[in-house]
C-alpha cells in the first residue's frame, strides 16, 4: 500500500531528526566551550587568568589605587577537610604581585585528593585577576591528619575598571576520589 510506505518513510525521517537532536545535545558540550571562549560571552573557567612572571612586568604597578581582595573557601559535600584562608582580606595595588596561602587539613582517617575550583565576584572582574602560581592548578593530596599550606601568587591587572573596589576570590574544594576522577584538571 503506498500510504503505508509513505508513513514509514516520514516516520523514519522523523526518527532521523530525533537521532540528530540527541547528537546535537552532546555536540553542545564542546560547542558551548568553544562559543564561550571565542566570543567571551560567558565566564567559563571563572577562576581568573594564568600568566607567567615575565608577563607581570608589562602590567605596571598602579601605586595610587587600592583594591580590597577578599578570600573565601567552601567545602563541597563528602570532603572531610578543614580549609580556611590564612588572611581574610588584603588591600592591594593593581600590578603588584602578592602571595597568600590557604590552610588545609585532612580530618579523615584516609588519604583524600581534592581539587579547588575558583570563582570570582563580581564575575566581571574575572578577566583582570591573574594567577602566577596557584594550588588550584593541581589536585591536592593529603594523608590522614596531614596539614598543608596551599600557596597562591596573584596580581590584579591595573585596567580593572574603576568601579570595582572589592574583589572576592572564593574556592570550592571538591573531593576528587569521590567523583571517581583520575586525570588531572587542565590548568586554571
Amino acid at each position: 500500500m503506498p500510504a503505508k510506505k509513505s508513513n514509514r518513510r516520514l516516520a523514519l525521517g522523523l526518527v532521523g531528526l530525533v537521532a540528530g537532536m540527541f547528537g546535537f545535545g552532546f555536540a553542545l558540550v564542546p560547542l558551548y566551550g568553544l562559543i564561550c571562549s571565542a566570543t567571551g560571552i560567558n565566564s567559563v573557567g571563572a577562576g581568573g587568568r594564568h600568566i607567567t612572571e615575565s608577563e607581570v612586568k608589562s602590567l605596571g604597578v598602579d601605586a595610587q589605587r587600592e583594591v580590597r581582595v577578599e578570600f573565601d573557601a567552601t567545602l563541597s559535600t563528602g570532603l572531610d577537610w578543614e580549609v580556611r584562608p590564612k588572611v581574610r582580606h588584603l588591600e592591594i595595588h593593581p600590578g603588584k604581585v602578592y602571595e597568600v596561602s590557604y590552610f588545609a587539613h585532612n580530618n579523615s582517617d584516609h588519604e583524600i585528593t581534592a581539587q579547588a575550583i575558583p570563582g570570582i565576584t563580581p564575575w566581571q572582574a574575572t578577566q583582570y585577576f591573574n594567577k602566577i602560581a596557584c594550588f588550584c592548578f593541581n589536585q591536592q593530596k593529603l594523608a590522614p591528619g596531614e596539614s598543608a599550606d596551599l600557596k597562591l601568587r596573584f596580581v590584579l591587572s591595573p585596567d580593572l575598571p574603576r568601579k570595582y573596589h572589592t574583589v572576592t576570590l572564593s574556592y570550592t574544594f571538591m573531593n576528587v576520589d569521590r567523583t571517581g576522577l583520575r586525570h588531572a584538571v587542565s590548568s586554571r
Binding site: N7, A11, V18, A19, M21, N42
Partner: protein, 532 residues
C-alpha cells in the same frame, strides 16, 4: 487459524477482556487509556501539591522534612507536566485527530500501543524514586524538576530512578509525536487540505515537531548527568573541569519549548471550542496558524531567560530578553483571534465555553507577568521567588489544564454518547476557577515581598497570604472530586446525544468528528470521507 489469516481478516468486532486494552491498536481505546492515566496522575500530582500546601500552612516544619518537601515538589512538577498534562493532550490527539481529519486510525497503530504502555512503567519508576530514599537510598531528589547539578550529582539512588523515568517518558512522547505528525501529514481525507485542517490538528502538528526536536536534548542532558554520577565523566562536575551551567542550557533548551508543548494543544482546543459556542468561524484562521509557527520557532531560541542570574554577559541577556518579549506578539495574536471570534457572535456559555473565556482572561494575566519576568533588571529581583511560581501556574493551569478541561467537556458527549450534567459542569467551573485564583493570586505578592520558592519554611510575615493560598489549594484539589464524579456519571448514563451535540459545532474549519455518531463506532472512516 494461522496468524496470517488473523492478520488479513478485516475484523469489525472488538477484542474482549484485557486483550482489548493491553494489545490495543485502536486509536479510541488508546486515547481512553491515555486520558485515564492522565486523570490518575492528576490526582497523584495533586496529592503531592496538597502536602506542600499543608506544610506551608504555618512557618516552621510540621509535616515533612525539607528534603522530602523538595522531593514532593519535584514529583508534583514531573507528574503534572509529564504524567498529567502531556498524556491528557496525547489522549485527546489519539481520540480526536483520526476522526477530525477523516483517517481510519493513527498512522502507526502498534507504535501507538507501545508509547502508551511505556507510561505506567515510567510512573512506577518515579514512585520508586520517591520510595527508595526511605529505605537507605540516600538523599531524595531535592532539586526541583530542573535537576540542576551539583545538587543532582549529590543526591542518592532516587535520582537514578528519576533519570530513568525521564528516559522512558521521553521515548514514549517522542514515539507518540512521530505517530501524530505522520498521521496529520499523511492520513488526511481527500479534500482535507492544509488550510481546512482543524486548528487542533495544526496545534498538535507543531507540538509533535517541537517534542521531536527538544526531547532528545533533555534525554542527552540527563544521560550526561547519569554518566557524571556513575562513570567518572565531568560534563557538569566542576571538580573535573565540567560546567554546571551547561546543564542549565541543555535543560532549558528543552524546558522552555516544553511550555509551548503544554500550551499549544490547549490553544488548538480553544480553536475548536470558541467558534462552536460563538457560532462563527474562527477569526483570521490563517494568521493564527502562522502565529503558531512563529511561536514554535521563537520558543526554541529564548531558553536562557530562565538563567539571567548565572552570569551571562550583558549582550547575551539582552538578546534573550528581547526574544522573550517578542513572544508576547504571537501569543497576544492568538488571544485576540479568540476575542474577535467571540465578538458579535451568538455566544452561549456552556461549560467548555466558560473555560475558554476564563482561559483568555487568566492566560493574558500570565502573559503580563511573563513580560515582567523577561525584563532582566526586574527578573534579577523576582528570580526564584513565589512571583515566578504564581506566573507559571497562571500560565499552565489556564493555558494547559483548563484547556484540557474545556476539551473534555466539549468532546465528552462525543466519546460517551451521553450529555454531561451541565449544572454540575458549571459548578465545577466556578469552583475550580475561584479556588485557583485564590491559591495563586496572593503568591504574586509574597513573591514580590521576597518569599523564595522551593523552601519548606518561611518568614512569619508571610503567614496570612500562605494560609489564603493553602485554603485555595485545598478547595482546588477538592473540586477535582466533582470532576471525577461528572465524568463517571456521564460515562454511566445521561441524556443521549446525536452526531452533533453542539449546534454550532460545524462552523468554519470544524473537524469531521461531528459527522460520526456519538459514541463513534469502534472503527470509523474505513472508507475515507471526501471533504468539499
Amino acid at each position: 487459524m494461522s496468524t496470517e489469516a488473523v492478520h488479513d481478516e478485516h475484523h469489525d468486532h472488538k477484542p474482549t477482556g484485557w486483550r482489548r486494552w493491553v494489545f490495543s491498536t485502536n486509536h479510541k481505546d488508546i486515547g481512553t487509556m491515555y486520558l485515564i492515566f492522565a486523570l490518575v496522575m492528576l490526582f497523584l500530582g495533586g496529592a503531592s501539591a496538597m502536602m506542600l500546601r499543608a506544610e506551608l500552612w504555618e512557618p516552621g516544619l510540621q509535616i515533612v522534612d525539607p528534603n522530602t518537601y523538595n522531593n514532593l515538589l519535584t514529583n508534583h512538577a514531573l507528574i503534572m507536566v509529564f504524567g498529567a498534562v502531556m498524556p491528557a493532550a496525547a489522549g485527546m490527539a489519539n481520540w480526536m485527530l483520526p476522526m477530525m481529519i477523516g483517517a481510519p486510525d493513527m498512522a502507526l497503530p502498534r507504535l501507538n500501543n507501545l508509547s502508551f504502555w511505556l507510561l505506567p512503567f515510567a510512573a512506577l519508576m518515579l514512585i520508586m524514586s520517591f520510595v527508595v530514599p526511605h529505605f537507605g537510598g540516600g538523599v531524595p531528589i531535592n532539586t526541583g524538576w530542573t535537576l540542576y547539578p551539583p545538587l543532582s550529582l549529590q543526591a542518592g539512588i532516587g535520582m537514578d530512578f528519576g533519570i530513568f523515568t525521564l528516559h522512558i517518558l521521553g521515548i514514549s512522547s517522542i514515539m507518540a509525536s512521530i505517530n501524530i505528525v505522520t498521521t496529520i501529514v499523511n492520513m488526511r481525507a481527500p479534500g482535507m487540505t492544509w488550510f481546512k485542517l482543524p486548528l487542533f490538528a495544526w496545534a498538535w502538528l507543531l507540538t509533535g515537531l517541537l517534542l521531536i526536536v527538544i526531547m532528545p536534548v533533555l534525554a542527552g542532558g540527563v544521560t550526561m548527568l547519569l554518566f557524571d554520577r556513575h562513570f567518572g565523566t565531568s560534563f557538569f562536575d566542576a571538580a573535573g573541569g565540567g560546567d554546571p551551567v551547561l546543564f542549565q542550557h541543555l535543560f532549558w533548551f528543552f524546558g522552555h519549548p516544553e511550555v509551548y508543548v503544554l500550551l499549544l494543544p490547549s490553544i488548538g482546543i480553544l480553536g475548536m471550542v470558541v467558534p462552536t459556542f460563538s457560532r462563527k468561524p474562527l477569526f483570521a484562521y490563517k494568521p493564527l496558524v502562522y502565529s503558531m509557527f512563529f511561536l514554535t520557532a521563537l520558543g526554541l531560541v529564548v531558553w536562557a531567560h530562565h538563567q539571567y542570574t548565572v552570569g551571562m554577559s550583558k549582550e547575551v541577556t539582552e538578546y534573550f530578553m528581547i526574544g522573550t518579549i517578542l513572544i508576547s506578539i504571537p501569543v497576544g495574536y492568538m488571544l485576540f483571534s479568540f476575542i474577535f471570534t467571540m465578538w458579535r457572535g451568538s455566544m452561549t456559555f456552556e461549560t467548555p465555553m466558560l473555560f475558554a473565556v476564563a482561559i483568555v482572561l487568566m492566560f493574558s494575566f500570565a502573559g503580563v507577568t511573563g513580560v515582567m519576568l523577561a525584563v532582566v533588571p526586574a527578573d534579577l529581583q523576582y528570580h526564584d521567588t513565589y512571583f515566578v511560581v504564581a506566573h507559571f501556574h497562571y500560565a499552565l493551569i489556564p493555558g494547559a489544564l483548563f484547556g484540557i478541561y474545556a476539551g473534555v467537556f466539549y468532546w465528552l458527549p462525543k466519546w460517551t454518547g451521553h450529555m454531561y450534567d451541565e449544572r454540575l459542569g458549571k459548578i465545577f467551573f466556578w469552583w475550580t476557577t475561584i479556588s485557583f485564583n485564590l491559591t495563586f493570586f496572593v503568591q504574586h505578592f509574597v513573591g514580590l515581598a521576597g518569599m523564595p520558592r522551593r523552601i519548606s519554611d518561611y518568614s512569619p510575615v508571610f503567614t496570612d497570604f500562605n494560609q489564603i493560598s493553602s485554603i485555595g489549594a485545598f478547595a482546588f484539589g477538592a473540586s477535582h472530586l466533582l470532576f471525577l464524579w461528572i465524568i463517571i456519571k456521564t460515562v454511566r448514563g445521561g441524556k443521549k446525544v446525536g452526531d452533533k451535540p453542539w449546534d454550532g459545532a460545524q462552523v468554519g474549519n470544524a473537524g469531521l468528528e461531528w459527522t460520526l455518531p456519538s459514541p463513534p463506532p469502534f472503527h470509523s472512516f474505513s472508507t475515507p470521507p471526501v471533504v468539499k
